[in-house]
Symmetry: C2
């Protein structure tokens, strides 16, 4: 029997070379090449181009743009200085027009923009290592449709189940909310949620938990291309002009109820956390005020979280929230974030009222690099006591 | 409370315009534009380019390539003749270099090549409609890790659960296998499995079923970038030089056992089907011969399925397989497929032995366009009796 199987394999190999008639050809060059010292070489075959450059979120590189040099074989090339361990995004400019690197099939979509990605890692305790897929037990990632009675639609969410989710054990749940222009794919793709959680859990740094990443746009059912409005050009504002039957915050318990009835969750306050970035930080703040008894951990990341002293209910809600003694009210923001002033006003308010919170400030602005850091930190702070 | 939520929303909207500091800018043009008559307009902003064209799997277009015309604003444009309803793939060539369309964020990866996609549909009973996301109940799609005792690794598969998978009902299972160079993402992405299944089930044309799409490369744990070997350039041959502990066929029952123990399946032969394309068609053929009592429906799509008269066990296995009276042994292939001769030899053998099978032949070659058709047809033929 083994011989037959081997023969079949050989047969498959023989036809394999042309097994799928592809539209494209394999790229002539390899790009990017991450070198041993952390420097990265980009190569683009563009023999007729006049100017080719690479732009990325390289904090180490002035202007974050590198001019490439044309070689005799028509390949443009450039090598960076050694880069710090990180997940980097970049694109190629050919005679002033932005393209993704034809040799790199790893891409992320941010609203309507595709960018290539690569990872630099040099040790097992750096960020690159944390963001890559390592040889550890892996959780599963599912795109799940649920009914939202409040919004009157079927909607899509992403659910991460930890590797130990196999049997009868129950788990706490982190609800993780995206920002403006994002959708239920953002945290998994741009945020590297499954990689970060797999690695933190494997290292014993975070409790095994379910992570629920819903769609925070109440007038959208799902990410672009994944619902019946078709393959439109993603545009953060396209669905804001429509009237929603309810806001994200008002419809949020539909999500919690679905998760509690469909997954092996621990159904109590101490086993529920909610955190979001930017608009999702605003949602987190609103959810904290609407449902103070449901969640015990709040994480506001670069949050659009405004103190509404002009609203009579704001003080009452805040008083009720902190009277409930949440285990963590965490505010994280980068020094260059354009929402710093709003976050300072929120902290002034909390200080004045004597409401306890934790604050984390780091470099950088309103960018995914920071949100991956905030997820990493927040995930280690929650569900640490039962 | 409503007022606060509204105010928060307004606040989020005010910051929304620059809520995520992106690397890219929104494209200056819209592309592609699918016009009402089914023609499609492509637009590429490339003011310095000398020659821009679009290439795709347009059977209607000679050479499948269209030269674009430069307008005064630097935008190159071309409009096709009306295209038949279909999911199309294409790319852009700028001065001889292949790029994906910078204005279109919808892409599929086939091995290492990214191509843009769009859909043409004109009525609710055409292929475009079948491949798009419609306003019907949706199943969920999960990337699941399972243990393979035979291969000694944790491995990744894609699992589609039908919309009705919610409660205590049990479902039949279709195992759907990819070809050479593919992986556990191929059938979901290139094959549009969840869209096809959602739509067929909603129309009552297929039974609600679980669809399991494993990784058919026994020396790979998961798709490129999703296991610890890193973000290498995908290459169908890269892992073939390694020794596998067992073949796909030999390790296949690990998958069936995992699925039967983790999902609400109907655990009997009449509720199991297996089908695959190309190399996966070869796997299907091997699985049919190894485990004749496990599956009742076999679908060989453009299959690398060789008659091995030089192997003494082949006749015995085939005799045992057809003695077990499978409900369906289905062979599908396109007229231009390079595996037509191999499939003809298989049919000659079956005819000579008097083994019953169904045969479907259509236009075209060894391409995803055909495999989507074959999935659509096969899914309607299985689990029709209990």
């Amino acid at each position: 029997m083994k011989r037959i199987v081997l023969m079949l394999l050989c047969c498959a190999m023989a036809v394999g070379g042309y097994a799928q008639q592809q539209l494209g050809q394999r790229s002539r060059v390899k790009s990017p090449v991450v070198n041993a010292d952390g420097s990265v070489t980009f190569n683009v075959y563009a023999p007729s181009a006049q100017q080719v450059s690479v732009s990325g979120d390289f904090e180490e590189i002035r202007g974050r743009r590198l001019e490439m040099t044309k070689q005799e074989n028509g390949v443009w090339t450039v090598t960076t200085q050694p880069l710090r361990p990180e997940l980097y995004s970049y694109s190629i400019s050919v005679d002033g027009v932005r393209f993704i690197d034809p040799a790199n099939s790893y891409v992320n979509r941010d609203i309507s923009t595709l960018s290539n990605i690569f990872i630099v890692t040099r040790s097992s305790d750096d960020k690159g290592h944390l963001y890559q897929v390592n040889n550890v037990p892996h959780g599963t990632l599912a795109r799940v449709w649920y009914d939202s009675p409040t919004l009157g639609t079927q909607r899509r969410m992403t659910v991460y189940l930890p590797p130990a989710y196999d049997g009868n054990r129950r788990f706490p749940v982190l609800y993780l909310l995206h920002g403006h222009g994002g959708d239920e794919t953002s945290w998994g793709d741009l945020g590297r949620t499954s990689q970060i959680m797999d690695n933190l859990i494997a290292e014993g740094k975070a409790q095994p938990m379910i992570v629920v990443m819903p769609n925070g746009n109440p007038t959208c059912d799902a990410a672009p291309g994944w619902w019946h409005e078709g393959m439109y050009t993603p545009d953060g504002n396209a669905f804001r002009r429509r009237g929603a039957k309810a806001s994200m915050e008002e419809s949020f318990m539909d999500i919690v109820n679905f998760v509690d009835s469909h997954y092996r969750t621990i159904k109590k306050r101490s086993a529920r956390a909610v955190s979001g970035l930017s608009m999702g930080g605003g949602h987190t703040f609103g959810i904290a005020r609407l449902y103070p008894d449901i969640f015990d951990y709040y994480g506001l990341q670069s949050a659009a979280a405004q103190v509404r002293l002009d609203d009579a209910q704001f003080d009452t809600q805040m008083s009720r929230l902190f009277a409930s003694k949440p285990r963590l009210f965490w505010i994280a923001i980068g020094k260059d974030d354009f929402l710093m002033r709003m976050n300072n006003e929120l902290r002034d308010y909390l200080d004045e009222k004597g409401y306890p919170y934790e604050y984390y400030e780091n470099d950088g602005g309103h960018i995914w690099r920071n949100w991956r850091i905030y997820l990493t930190l927040f995930a280690q702070k929650i569900f640490t006591v039962n």
